[in-house]
Amino acid sequence: MQSSASPAVPSGATRRAFGRSRRARQMMIAYLFILPGTFLFVVWTLYPLLDAFRMSFYEWNLIKPSTFIGLDNYRRALHDDVFWRSVRNTLFYVVVTVPGQMILGLAIALLLDSPLRGRTLYRTIYYIPVVTSWVVVSLIFTFLFNSQAGFVNWVLKDGLGVIDQNIRWLRDPLMARIVIAILGVWKGVGWTMVIFLAGLQSIPQSLYEAATVDGAGTWRRLRDITLPLIRNTALFILVILTIGAFQVFISVFIMTADDPLNRNDVVLTYMYSNAFEFLDLGYGAAIAYMLAALVFLLSVVQIRVLKRKVEY
């Protein structure tokens, strides 16, 4: 990092003579390069990050002047049943979608990892949901999982005959959570597949050849070569997916908008309705900060714990 960044300097003599003024000039130039981006970063990311922390200690509602209330917002959350329900709903989403995406993504990557006709086409198709807007796919799933005349109900009831009565998908809290998780896996699996593919391609082919000569079958090659060697890739995916899953928002916001009781709230939809419907911005900021802290801690713990095993 340091050595590659040495600035352009002419010969040794001029360097010594003009060293100081040159360096000052270089610094000025560097600051000019970073100025616009850093300005935006400080104003729209760094300052809001600190401001959210400050707001979480205030009763803050855009109308009345705000008052300092210490840790009350945090204390309130700990005794707020609706908040805890939103935490449980978020955990459900994390626990279902993270392993779901990892297992399916790895399976698809393994299927695509050797020469196969149409490989690029498959990869493209599986990746399309990843690049599609959350709003659009949430609306499509709302439509497919309609409680009466929906596509999925029709397939299950009239097509396959596995149910006798239409399922009230998004109107039933448990079913709604399942549909939202299915959407999360469906949309994210293409990304997981691509990253796993990158990991698989870095495994030297000679290892497999040697193992085959030694008489190892498909299953043993998978268990003894592939899985241990993509461990770091898997760790990376696990961290990114967990961080992402805790932030589930748009799908829940759109798909369960007509539930008057907000039984499907996740942490961020609950934060959002507190801040922008009830204008309780301080409480919203406290909820947001607790989520940020949790996400941060989790990723640190995940990296620590899994690294130790890899070293062994």
Binding site: I34, V43, W44, D51, A52, V135, L197, Y289, A292
Partner: protein, 276 residues
């Protein structure tokens, strides 16, 4: 041996085709529904190809629902913020890759560290700030906040600028070019593939962005596509044909861009490991 190999190949194709079907089916159903007359949207058994196709939903979107305006808003906001983001992130990346200056690593790690912060944590203070700066309800407010993603793209570009041989830059400086000319005429063209990837990510990110636009914009004349589509869903008992006509038009550019620039895209995802 030969036979069993063929069989596993066939089996692989069958599984992959089934999976591909699950990936594509929701989109095909969306497109099919967008061409159905209102009365047939909920018909069962479901059909992917409408029996009596119509363009009514598309015409309706553009005439009575100002869809053209929303499309234009999205195009303006996404294009401007992409240009700004790419330029600012390239400047940042070049400085981090090529210059020494006090505060360099502090700034770098600050930018790196904030990537871990959920973007919705910033939503409340950004809203208050935008209100104080009179940037609510304005396209400029959207462009500014979307462009604040520059540090993130900087991380993707930095490596490319580090790989440029110092001799090339020295030669340009010897010819009498200043540092900005060297950056513009030598470094930027060399980083073209990376810039392409960053542009695509930045464009798609702004084009699809929902939460900030939904929070900051209340004047319907300034709606972007994602919040307009959501409005169509809420209005008069969800006209699904209209919602999906709008969705189809909104999604089409993203899927086209993705398919056209697939190579850049997948490479960008693999190397920088970005989640789209």
């Amino acid at each position: 041996m030969r036979v069993s190999f063929r069989w596993t190949g066939l089996l692989r194709h069958l599984v992959l085709i089934a999976g591909a079907g699950i990936m594509l089916l929701p989109f095909l159903y969306m497109v099919g529904t967008s061409f159905k007359p209102h009365a047939f949207v909920m018909e069962l058994p479901p059909t992917f190809i409408p029996t009596n196709p119509t363009l009514d939903n598309y015409i309706d979107a553009f005439t009575s629902n100002r869809f053209g305006l929303y499309f234009l808003n999205s195009a303006i906001v996404a294009t401007s913020s992409t240009v700004v983001t790419v330029l600012l992130s390239a400047l940042l990346a070049y400085a981090f890759a090529r210059f020494e200056f006090p505060g360099r690593s502090l700034l770098y790690y600050l930018m790196l560290g904030t990537l871990m912060v959920p973007s919705l944590v910033l939503l409340i203070p950004q809203f208050v700030l935008a209100r104080d700066l009179h940037l609510l309800d304005s396209r400029l407010g959207l462009i500014v906040v979307y462009s604040a993603a520059a540090p993130f793209n900087m991380l993707l570009l930095r490596g490319f600028f580090e790989e440029i041989p110092q001799d090339l830059l020295d030669a340009s400086m010897m010819d009498g070019s200043g540092p900005f000319q060297t950056f513009w005429h030598i470094a930027l063209p060399l980083a073209k593939p990376a810039l392409a990837a960053v542009s695509i990510f930045a464009f798609l990110g702004s084009w699809d962005e929902f939460t900030w636009a939904f929070t900051a914009i209340t004047d319907q004349a300034k709606y972007t596509l994602p919040i307009a589509i959501r409005l169509f869903q809420q209005q008069h008992g969800t006209q699904w044909g209209l919602v999906f006509a709008a969705s189809t038009i909104a999604v089409l550019p993203t899927i086209l861009v993705f398919i056209l620039f697939q190579r850049h895209f997948i490479r960008g995802v693999m190397s920088g490991a970005v989640k789209g």
